[in-house]
């Protein structure tokens, strides 16, 4: 990345303005309903977090550069500038005060995709040198090391080795012609390694061939979070190249919200060509396995539990029914929180917010929304399917002295997995 500057920032934002963006600014009537959908506004009461306000710098640039009237206004000195001060002032709105959750986009009466615009405007902020430190560090590590948290292949190999010892199951690396390429997020590798074990056991029972790629085991895309398409493209390319090289049919995105958005929706557009493989979220795959009878479950969890929809997976990813299908198979007392499903509220830590230390306090305030949802419901367990949501929820719950365990859905499913092919057998084969 070359040296940042305000000029570069403005150019980057200009480049992001397309017909949809122009139509959005043109249609906005300042109704303010987007604020009512945004947890950063509802929990702080500060109108500056109104979603459409977060993209005001982009609006100014659009008006001045792409409308005759705006150009005329500028000629008469009647347009508001976008300068260093603007970037400085809006930085915390664009990064700290927005998790790219997309709720605003769903409620805008004129149909504006506001969260999409916020993602776009981040390109300008990053280019202007106004991205949060935590995200800069994560992206740099992702580019140089291959993981935003500095996880290297030997770490994954160590976990694989020990998985083999514990379960007798092998995790294939770089297996050509495997049906599935499984991606992992650094958060899972470091904090929830049970995920890998769950995958291994499930894949074994389903009788499916799978592999991870030594050159592209990382799913997390820091480029998408910070808003630097070049980095996002580089990270996605690693996965695409590996998938092509290994000739897999389907790439599986793990329980990480933005990883799914990056590989499923952004990837092809970042690299400029269509994929030669499918991309599915792990929950889609599990739901398929269950409905096709490839894996069976036995026994059920009796605790009263509910499901938190990760924004990128449910609202933006369209994976809403699948986790519910799965939970209904392994839980007797699954209740929905209010606004559950497509309109669920963000955990407060998505879109790079949890990686941004400066945003910690704001994040905890925004978490009060989720807290209200949970308090109204009164459950014993909270299930979700995103490693980042998990930790954000745990932290928020702890801060509010709420004793509520949070579990990952894939892990939970694996606990009730019927292991018809005894692993003992696998041990002997191993």
């Amino acid at each position: 990345m070359s040296a940042p500057s305000v000029e570069k920032g403005i150019q980057a934002i200009k480049a992001q303005i397309d017909a949809p963006v122009a139509s959005f600014f043109s249609a906005c009537v300042h109704c303010g309903l987007c604020a009512e959908a945004c947890l950063f506004y509802t929990e702080t009461g500060d109108p500056k977090y109104t979603p459409i306000n977060k993209v005001e710098p982009m609006r100014r640039i659009w008006e001045k550069e792409y409308t005759l009237f705006g150009k005329a206004k500028a000629a008469f000195g009647m347009s508001k500038a976008v300068d260093e001060e603007t970037f400085a002032e809006w930085e915390t709105l664009v990064y700290d005060g927005c998790s790219l959750c997309g709720r605003c986009s769903l409620v805008c009466p004129v149909g504006n995709d506001i969260s999409g615009m916020i993602r776009k405007i981040r390109e300008g902020f990053a280019a202007a040198g106004h991205a949060p430190e935590g995200l800069i560090g994560a992206s740099t590590r992702a580019v140089e090391i291959g993981s935003p948290m500095g996880v290297k292949l030997p770490a994954v190999q160590a976990q694989i080795k020990h998985l083999r010892k514990n379960t007798g199951l092998d995790v294939p690396i770089d297996a050509k012609g495997a049906e599935y390429l499984v991606l992992l997020s650094s958060m899972e590798i470091m904090n929830f390694p049970e995920y890998l074990e769950a995958i291994a056991r499930i894949m074994y029972q389903a009788g499916k061939t799978w592999t991870i790629a030594s050159k592209a085991f990382e799913a997390t895309n820091s480029g998408v979070q910070i808003g630097v398409s070049d980095i996002a493209k580089l990270l996605v390319s690693r996965v695409v190249d590996a998938a092509d090289e290994l000739g897999v049919k389907t790439v599986i995105s793990p329980e990480c919200g933005h990883a799914f958005t990056a590989i499923r929706w952004d990837g092809a557009n970042l690299i400029g060509r269509e994929y030669g493989f499918e991309v599915k979220h792990i929950l889609e795959v599990l739901d398929e396995f269950v409905s096709q009878g490839l894996i069976k479950t036995e026994g059920k969890e009796d605790a009263k539990l509910t499901y938190h929809d990760p924004c990128q997976i449910a609202r933006k990813g369209g994976v809403v029914k699948q986790p519910r299908n799965l939970l209904n198979k392994i839980a007797t007392n699954f209740v929905e929180m209010e606004d559950g499903g497509v309109m669920n509220w963000c955990c407060s830590g998505g879109g790079g917010v949890s990686a941004n230390e400066r945003a910690d306090e704001l994040k905890l305030t925004a978490f009060n929304r989720k807290k209200s949802q949970l308090q109204a419901l009164g459950v014993d367990t909270l299930v979700t399917a995103c490693a980042n949501c998990r930790l954000t929820l745990e932290e928020g719950l702890e801060e509010n002295e709420m004793d509520l365990p949070v579990v990952g859905l894939t892990e939970m499913l694996a606990e009730y997995l019927v292991e018809e092919k005894p692993i003992e057998e696998a041990k002997e084969e191993a």
Partner: protein
């Protein structure tokens, strides 16, 4: 009785009642205690071994170790330090030992403690040459065997 693999290990653990699982779990954690410098871990281990501890005191310990585990994890996008991360898994193991009854989601507290303890060893293997995971499994088998024989 001798335990030589995880199937036998888990079966034996499932045969224990809650108090026994906590005691054995505590032993598993003690075996990897050197990987954590958090005094709350020791506190949790002691509480797990103390069968006579009142529920209220236990709740205080639970809260304390939960916080310890939570704060020990690596933040999303942060530069991960595997040696520190080992401390996270030790705290998780200790947390499992004192978790309230009925929190299993299919796994018993002793099993959870054992797995987390092993993951702590895996962390060390991630960075360095030291790979004590397999020997830790063996150690756990021996701990359980001795416990059952006693």
């Amino acid at each position: 009785m001798s335990i030589s693999n995880d199937i036998e290990f888990r079966d034996a653990l499932n045969g224990l009642d809650l108090a026994q699982q906590r005691e054995v779990g505590a032993l598993f954690v003690e075996s990897v205690l050197s990987l954590s410098s958090d005094p709350r871990v020791t506190q949790a281990v002691n509480a797990a071994k103390d069968g006579a501890l009142e529920e209220e005191a236990m709740n205080l310990v639970r809260h304390s170790i939960k916080v310890a585990a939570l704060h020990a994890h690596t933040r999303c996008g942060a530069d991960g330090e595997w040696n520190d991360q080992a401390g996270y898994f030790v705290a998780r193991a200790a947390e499992a030992c004192v978790e309230p009854e009925g929190r299993s989601q299919g796994k018993g507290p002793a099993w959870k403690a054992a797995m987390s303890a092993r993951m702590a060893c895996t962390c060390l293997a991630a960075e360095g040459d030291e790979d004590s995971h397999d020997s830790e499994s063996q150690t756990q088998y021996q701990i359980l065997t001795s416990y059952l024989d006693a």
